[in-house]
Symmetry: C4
Subunit: 380 residues, 4 copies
C-alpha cells in the first residue's frame, strides 16, 4: 500500500556491522604514513585521548603527548573542582556499582575553580606536553580567556550535541566565528556532531576540527535515555562527505575525529576507512596503567544531576599506553598495538596514507561469530 508522505528512514551502520575489503593492490605496512594535522599542529599518531576524567589527567596528557598523540583535559571535571583530584578518583573507583552514579553526581556538584584551569594547563606545558582542554558551550565564554592566558595549545568545545546554531534564553549566546577569532591562533575543535549538515555548518563557522559521534561510547546511555544517537560508521561517512564538500567549496581541509565506540584495532581501522582523519579513544585508554580512572571509566553526562546519561564501566587495568599504541602483544582481540593494526590494514588495502585509506571499500557484513569463537571469547 502506498501511504502519502509517510516518513522515510535511512539505514545507519555501526562498527560491528561492516568490514573492510582488501584492495586490488597491497603495500608494505612499513611504508605507510599515519600522521595527523590540525591547523599548524602535527601529530605522529592519529589518535586523541578523550576528555574524560578516567582517561586524562595532566600526567596522562604528558605521557600521551610524548607518544605523539593529543590528549584533551576536561575543564569541567574533578581536575578543576578539586585541589587534590586523586583522592576523589579513588573514592569513585572504590564505590560499589549500584552507588556509582549517585556518588558521581555528588562528586561533580562542587563548583569549578578558575584558578585550577590555569594550574592544570601549566602542569602539562611545564613538562613539554601538548595541551588541549575542553569545556561545554555554556562555559566557553567564561573559560576561553583563562585558557588563552594559560597558553594552552588547543581548545575543545564539546557537548553531547553541539551545533553552530543554538537557541537559548541568554541575550547573547556563544557564536563560533567569534570564539575562533578570539582564540587565534589557537585552534578551536568542536563536537560532537553526526550529520552532514551540522558538521558542514561548524566548518563554515571556522573551527579547526570536528569531533564526530553521538551515542556509541561504551559508557554512554543516550540511546536508552533519549533515543538519540547515530552509529559511528554512518556518522563518520556523512561528516567525511561534509568535510570533502567544504574542502571543494573553500579550499580549507578541516579534519574530522571519530569519537566513541572504538574498542579494538578493527573498529579503529573501520573509522579511518569510513573517512576519519583521526580517532578519539576513551575506554581503551582507561585500561592503561597511566590512566587516572583506576580501572573504571565514565562519561561527562553520567554525573548530570537530573538526568544522568551514562554509567561507570569497569574496564580493569591490564595494559600500558606503549602496548596499546605500539605493542608488541600476545593478545588476539585487537586491543593492543593499534598502530601496528592500522599499518597492517592500510597495507592490505594498498593505502600509503590515511587519505588513501579513507577510500578503502567497506561492505555491510554483520559479525556473526561461530559458536567456537564465542565460547573462546567468553573464556578469555
Amino acid at each position: 500500500m502506498s501511504i502519502p508522505q509517510a516518513k522515510q528512514m535511512r539505514r545507519a551502520y555501526g562498527f560491528d556491522e561492516v568490514a573492510i575489503v582488501p584492495g586490488d593492490l597491497t603495500v608494505n605496512p612499513a611504508m605507510t604514513e599515519v600522521g595527523f594535522r590540525i591547523d599548524q599542529m602535527e601529530f605522529s599518531l592519529p589518535i586523541m585521548a578523550s576528555a574524560m576524567d578516567a582517561v586524562v589527567d595532566p600526567d596522562f596528557a604528558i605521557a600521551f603527548s610524548k607518544l605523539g598523540g593529543l590528549a584533551v583535559l576536561n575543564l569541567e571535571g574533578v581536575q578543576t573542582r578539586y585541589d587534590d583530584p586523586a583522592s576523589v578518583l579513588e573514592e569513585i573507583a572504590a564505590a560499589s556499582r549500584q552507588d556509582s552514579t549517585t556518588l558521581l553526581q555528588k562528586a561533580y556538584a562542587p563548583p569549578i575553580k578558575p584558578e585550577l584551569i590555569s594550574e592544570r594547563i601549566r602542569e602539562i606545558k611545564s613538562a613539554d606536553g601538548v595541551c588541549a582542554v575542553s569545556c561545554t558551550p555554556a562555559n566557553a565564554k567564561a573559560f576561553a580567556p583563562i585558557v588563552k592566558d594559560a597558553n594552552a595549545d588547543a581548545l575543545v568545545i564539546q557537548s553531547t550535541v553541539t551545533t553552530a546554531r543554538h537557541t537559548s534564553y541568554s541575550e547573547k549566546g556563544l557564536t563560533f566565528p567569534e570564539l575562533v577569532k578570539q582564540m587565534q591562533p589557537m585552534p578551536v575543535i568542536v563536537g560532537n556532531t553526526v550529520s552532514y549538515g551540522a558538521c558542514k555548518e561548524l566548518m563554515e563557522a571556522g573551527v579547526a576540527a570536528v569531533q564526530v559521534g553521538v551515542g556509541p561510547g561504551s559508557a554512554c546511555t543516550s540511546r536508552e535515555v533519549l533515543g538519540i544517537g547515530v552509529p559511528q560508521v554512518t556518522a563518520t561517512m556523512d561528516c567525511a562527505a561534509a568535510r570533502d564538500q567544504y574542502y571543494r567549496e573553500s579550499g580549507r581541509y578541516v579534519p574530522i575525529i571519530t569519537d566513541g565506540g572504538i574498542r579494538s584495532g578493527g573498529d579503529l581501522c573501520k573509522a579511518f576507512a569510513s573517512g576519519a582523519d583521526a580517532v578519539m579513544l576513551g575506554s581503551v585508554l582507561a585500561a592503561c596503567e597511566e590512566a587516572p580512572g583506576g580501572g573504571h571509566h565514565w562519561g561527562m553526562a553520567t554525573p548530570n544531576a537530573d538526568l544522568p546519561r551514562g554509567i561507570r564501566v569497569e574496564v580493569g587495568v591490564d595494559t600500558t599506553l606503549q602496548r596499546v599504541i605500539h605493542g608488541p602483544t600476545s593478545r588476539t582481540n585487537g586491543t593492543e598495538n593499534l598502530i601496528g593494526a592500522l599499518r597492517t590494514a592500510m597495507g592490505m588495502c594498498g593505502a600509503r596514507t590515511i587519505r588513501d585509506f579513507q577510500q578503502a571499500e567497506l561492505v555491510v557484513a554483520p559479525s556473526i561469530k561461530t559458536e567456537g569463537k564465542q565460547i573462546q571469547a567468553a573464556q578469555r
Copy 2:
C-alpha cells in the same frame, strides 16, 4: 526468478531498531513546550496512563491528573466487578507465576456492576481528577449513557483491534458517528489501530483521538498467539501520515497516542519523533508506588476465558510517579525523568514543540550493545 503476482511485504520497525538524529540546530531544553490537547481538553503532560487494572485505579487517576496527565480507568476490570477491588488485586499479586493466568481468568469472570461505573467516576471527579474511562466496542452502547450521566471527561472505546467498519451478527451494531454524536461534547477516543487506512477511517468517523498500537506491549502476546502486530515506529508513522492527510482534507487535527511498548525515555522520544502527539504508558507506571498492581502488570486480553493473549509481568515497585515523570534521578537506563528526557532530546533536535519534534530525522540503527554494556546492564 520473477514470480507472477507474488505477495509483497514492507519492512516495519520497532523502537529498538531506530535512533533519532540530532538536528542541525539546537534549542535550550527549558524553552521546549510539551503540552497535549484533545478537543478542548488541555494537558501539560503528553502522557496517558493505560486502562489497565495494574496501572489505574481512582486514586492513581487523581494523582496522575494532578501531575498534568490523563489516566484512563478500565470499566471492564476489577474496579467495576468488585465493590472491594483492592482485595482481588492483592490476590492476583500473591499468585504464583504458573497460576497467574488461571487466576486472572477466574477474577474477571464475575459480571460488571453498572452502579460501580458511576461510583468509580464519582470517586475521581470528587477529588477534582480528570476522568477518562474505557470499555470495549461490545459494551459501548450499554455503558455510554451511564458514563455520560456520571459526567466523565472522556470515553475511550478500546479493543485489540478496532475499526470503523465491523461486521457482526447483531442487527444494529455500534457506529462511531452515532456514538460521537450521542456523547457530545465529551470526546470519544478510539483504539487500537496501526494502519493508515483504518486510522483515517476512524478520524473520518469523528473521533477525538486515536490510540495506536497492536502487539508491542510488555504484557501482550498477540504476536505469539495470533501472529498479529505491527512494530510501534512504523505504526506511529503510518497513523501520523493518516492524521496529517485527514488534517489537510478536513482542517480538523485529531491527535494520535502511541500506546504500548514504551519502556524508557528513549522509546518515548522515538514515539514522538515518529509522529505521536502523546504516548500511553503501562508497565513503566505499574512500577510506581501509586499503582494498584502491587509490582505486577497485565493486559486486558490476559483474562480472556478461551484464548488469553497476555501474561502477568513482574515489574516490581521501585519508583514514584513524581520520579518517573519529572525526576530527579540517579538511574541511567531511561526509566525516570521522562519529561526531562523528552525536553533534552527535543533540545538536541532543535524542536521547540512536539509538532516540531515529529519532524526529527530517524535512522534505522539496531541497538547493538557492546559486551561491556550488556554485562553492566545484566548486573543492574
Copy 3:
C-alpha cells in the same frame, strides 16, 4: 563496484520475521469459515497431522479424523516394519539423547512388511477414520496398488524434496501423471517443495494438493547438513503464487499445505496469511496425550543410515488434541486453541474465509522480545 554477472539472491522470510497487519474492517470471529477441501474430500479443520511416527498411529488418525482434520500415516516407519510398533516406540522414547540417532537408525533397519500396510489402513477405516497414507517416491510404484486395494482415502508421496522431473538410473521411474491416473479417484498429494516452478509443475502433473516446506521443521537439520531449505513464509508465498497462476491457466484449484515449522497459533495464522489453504503440524501434535511418540518427536530423515538429517526432539506430553485444536486454555504462548486463534486473527483482518485471509497484509517485523518477556518465557 559493479561485477559482471555476479550471482543475485532474494531475501526469504520465516515465521519469526513477519507479522500480520490488522485490516481496515473487522469481522466477528464466530462468522468466519475455516474449512478445507482436497478434490471431493471436505474437512472442517484446515489442519493435517504429519506423517511422522511420533505423531500419527492408527488411533491418533481416528481421533484426529473425528475432530475434522486429516492425519497421514507413514508407510515407511515403525507401523509397517513391526507387528507391535508400540514396544519399539517405547524403546525410542526411553533412549538417552546421545544414543537416540543410532537407535533410530537401528529401529528403521528391518524391512517393511507389505501386509502391515493393508492392516494399518483397515484399522483406521474400520473405526470410520479418514485414512491418508504416505510413502517416498522410490516406493510409490510398489505400494500404490496395496494402498488402492486397501481402500485408503488419500495417498501422499513425500520426500525432503520432490519434483515432477526426477532423473535416476532406473529404466522407468515414477511419473506423477501415471500415478494420479492409476489411483483415481483417490487423490494423490505430493511434497515437499518450496519454489514457484517446481510447485506449478507438480500441479500440472495432476496432483490433488501440494505440501510446501523444506527445512523448517523442529526436528529437521537439513540446513546444517545440506545447506538446503527455504523459510516458510516465502516458500508459502511462492507456492501460493504458483497455485493462483495454475488456477488462472487451468481452472483447477490445487490447495497447498504449509508443512513444517509451525509451533504456535501465531505461526499458523501467518501460514494462512502467506497463502496456505491448510497447514501440517508435527511437534505441536506430538505433545498431545493421543500421540504415540511418548513426548518425543523425530522426522523421517533422522533414521537415514548414512546421513541422518534430523534429531529426536523432546516435546513433553502436556496437552490434549481437544485443547490444542479448540481450547479452552490458560496458556498464553499460542500452543492451545489453534482454531480459536485462527478465527480471532481472521476477524481482526476482516476475513470471512481462508481465501480472504490469504489476502491479509504482512509486514517484515523481526520478533524482538523485551527483556521482561524473554525472562518470563524462559521461566514458563
Copy 4:
C-alpha cells in the same frame, strides 16, 4: 536527505545467512560427479586440507591424498623449523588457553631450515602422496627452487591478503608471471583474495588456482584486529564472477577454492552453490584422529610476534578422516559424511556436476533456530 558523494556499501553474506533452494528437477545422488582439477592434476574429492600445522603433517598429507583430496603442507611452520615437530605440537596442545598465544609466538621464533623443506616433501612423495606445499610471498623467491628440486606437485603462495600488485621497499619483488614460468609445469596456486578485481588480476598473472577467503576461519581474528574480511558467500560469488569473466576472455578455466569458515556439510554445499570449484577445510579436519594438532587448531597469523591475529581453538579429537569425508555417520549436525551431503544436495538441486551446482539458486535466509533446536544443539 541526500548527501553529496557519500560512501556506498554493498551487503555481503556469510554461510549462516543463506540457504540453497531445491531445484525444479532432481537427480539421483549416485549419479552426481564431484571431481576437481587443477591444470593437469585431477582429484576425486573437491576438498583441500589447509596449510595449517594442526591439520597437515606429512602423514596426514599421505592419508588425505589416498582419499582423493589435496593437502597442503605449510613450509613456514613447525615442520620446517624443527627436526622433531611432534614434540613441539604436543607442547602447544598441552598449554593452557591463556598461555597459548605466547607459546605459539615462541614456538614459531626459530628459523626455518631449508633442508627440512626437501625432507618433508620427500616424506610425502616417497609414500606416493600428492604433495602441495605453501609459503608466504616474502619467502617465495627463496623457497621456490628448493620446492622444484624436491619435486613437489604444487606450490601454494599464501598470505592473509595477496595481490598481483604489491609495493615494498625491496628493489625487485616477487612477480607472479615470473614465478609461474619458473615453476612450470608445477601449478602455482595463490591466495587469499576476496574481490573480483584482485582475483581476476591473479588469474591474468597466470596462476593455476586461486584461494578465496579473508577473515572467516574459525581460528582467525582479522575482523577484530584489523577490521578486514569479507563473508565467504559474497567473496566466493565475486571471485566466481571473476573466474567466469576471465574464462570468457582467455579460454583458460582457473578454479577457485573457498578457504575458511566451512564447519559443516551445509556450509560446504553453500560454498559450491556460491560458485566454488573446491573447498579448503581447516578446523573440521583438525578434529580427525589423523590430524597432528591433538584436538587444537590455529592459523598461521596466530604466531605473529607483534600482532597475532588468531587464536588457538579447541576442536577435540572425535572423528576420523574416513567418517568426515565418506561417513557413515550418526551425527546430525553436518560434520561427517561431507561427500554424502554434497551428493545429496546436488541431487536435490538437479545438479549432475559441480559446475551445474554452481548455478543453484540461493536465498538470503538467516538461520533462526527454534528454541527447541537451540537447546538440543547446546546439549549435544
